[in-house]
Symmetry: C2
Subunit: 355 residues, 2 copies
């Protein structure tokens, strides 16, 4: 048997308590039946151990509980969290990646704290201002990687260029594309539109001659339509876009339920559609728990952020993302792209006369 993929799990910090981590491992393994995986589950053993009785033999055998009674709370400010973090479940989960014990860490804890602790423990790649969180967004054509979706509420133009570089490498490594297209999120496609930051970022990407398949500005509706494979934006707009899409999907789902129960005849039809399985895929696609995972990019190591409000199904989605990414080469791909950017910048500085 091949070497197992090892996923380090921060079981504390989510809204539903640590128990869901154990149940989530069980669900994730059922969704990835062929995968040889082990899970290092960090958290309070007194709460975690009894949960082992409720899961499959395969899940139980794959889990190693690593006790700690310290946890990072959802309400902690990032700076406080880092100060008090050493020895917490989040800290330990990320340390396992740094020490090479695990390939990837998964946590549903506080985003700000996860970013801050990941930076301290794993360090950022050379050339990265701050890490970004990338989300893989289902589209009409496949998957579009959107970043940043919430790590950096304010971003300068140079950061947006880094996001383009990291997102492009991530899409190649994770979604198997060869020349992913990249767009910059704006309020219009014309060059004179938008604010100074996006216009300057647009100029920088073009000037840097990065060998990126950069298509220019895209708009909000282009994300779900898959107009580009990567959509770059600051964490404020990216988070709003992501959550607006979630809310819209919930609204349409509510409208569908209303239509399907609007009359006796409609109910009969809906029951029939259910019986022939016509709604299974649709229901699965529209389940927000099935697209629950943000990936931290720009670090020397892989960290997946699950939604704090995730239940065991949602957390299982994040664990599956961890399993899928564990053998991936995206961090080294990002490094190659960053090195290319650095060479371009160096060449530009040489070419320009000193002022």
């Amino acid at each position: 048997m091949s070497q197992p993929l090892i996923v380090s799990v921060d079981a504390m910090g989510g809204d539903h308590g640590p128990g869901i981590a154990i149940a989530a491992v069980d669900i994730a393994l059922k969704k990835r039946p062929g995968v040889n995986a082990r899970f290092l589950v960090h958290g309070d053993a007194a709460q975690l151990t009894p949960m082992l009785d409720k899961v499959s033999e395969r899940a139980r055998a794959s889990i190693e509980i690593r006790h700690t009674d310290s946890e990072v709370r959802m309400t902690d400010k990032p700076s406080e969290a880092v100060r008090r973090a050493r020895g917490s479940s989040m800290w330990n989960a990320i340390m396992a990646v740094r020490d090479g014990e695990a390939s990837i860490a998964v946590s549903c804890g506080n985003t700000g704290a996860l970013m801050a602790i990941s930076k301290v423990v794993l360090r950022m790649k050379k050339g990265v201002h701050r890490p970004a969180i990338a989300a893989s967004w289902p589209t009409v054509r496949g998957h579009t990687v959107v970043l940043d979706v919430g790590a950096n509420v304010e971003c300068g133009p140079a950061q947006l260029v880094e996001f383009a570089i990291m997102g492009e490498a991530f899409h190649r490594a994770v979604h198997g594309s060869t020349e992913p297209t990249v767009g910059l999120l704006n309020v219009g496609q014309e060059e004179l539109k938008g604010n100074d930051t996006v216009r300057e970022a647009d100029r920088l990407v073009r000037a840097a001659n990065l060998d990126l398949n950069y298509l220019g500005f895209v708009e909000g509706d282009d994300i779900s339509l898959g107009r580009t494979d990567v959509v770059v934006t600051d964490g404020f707009s990216g988070n709003i876009a992501l959550k607006t899409a979630e809310g819209t999907a919930k609204l349409v789902a509510a409208w569908m339920r209303e239509s399907f129960t609007s009359s006796l005849l409609a109910k009969l039809g809906a029951a029939y559609m259910n019986a022939v399985g016509a709604l299974d895929l649709l229901r699965d696609r529209m389940d927000p728990r099935k697209i629950n995972a943000g990936v931290l990019l720009g670090l020397n190591g892989m960290v997946v952020k699950s939604h704090g409000g995730a239940d065991e199904v949602g957390f299982a989605t994040a664990l599956c993302t961890g399993l899928d990414l564990a053998p991936s080469s995206f961090t080294s791909e990002i490094e190659k792209n960053l090195a290319r950017l650095a060479r371009t910048e160096a060449a530009e500085m040489e070419a320009e006369p000193q002022s």
Copy 2:
């Protein structure tokens, strides 16, 4: 018979040519059978007049074509547009509102030009930095007014407070609410989240003691869920949210079509659902053309912005919005709210010792 509502229409500037304006009047009148309305249609008579033969007698009788061969182009920068605007269809349509000939103007021309010309012709209300564009967004609970959805890509905190005041008055006047709730769009509900602008705006709204039903920060998914009646944001994030919602609705519609045609049995079920009318309301609700109208707030007069890419059905939606708003009191309600803000500010300045 009561006095007719008079709507001034800029027929030029849309992607589909001026002809759709005449067809749209016909559709709008069919959707508002009881309304006594007249339409002053500004544009090239040589293109508009032949279209009159294709519409109903009622539409024909309601239309007065006002010829001009000058138009504002979609590609004009706002500053250029204003310089060349006098006598254009857009200018004339808005002048009819200023001169009291019409209650409201509707245009599908260039947003920047429409803003700029409306400001010059109608002037802003006292206390408004810049007008905003408000969109009425369908939600699980009714309608949420989102502003700004694209007029001001960069906004200071004081502008966001004005948007709150204008949006609240608009919701009361247009959606008949008595104490509409107001939220400020952010990336999290906790006070320490977000950028400096939204945190300062949050502080200002609370400090100004405006008698607004202000609930604090809301997130992107709260819009479609209708958590507040009014959602305030800058034009960059607002435009991205609006278009992301459009894109998501289109994606879900594509998934539905795929599910409903995924097998012969599914197709039979879908045909049945169609036959019993179970999908009519859903289809209507998800038609993006049925939510096509932005309303300019903060001016001494009412102007409705239709999407530039609207066809006759989309443009008819904007005309219906015009007909619905024509008898509305939202501009005077906004004025009352602004006066309240001015009084609060004056009282604060008096109370504070000079530094």
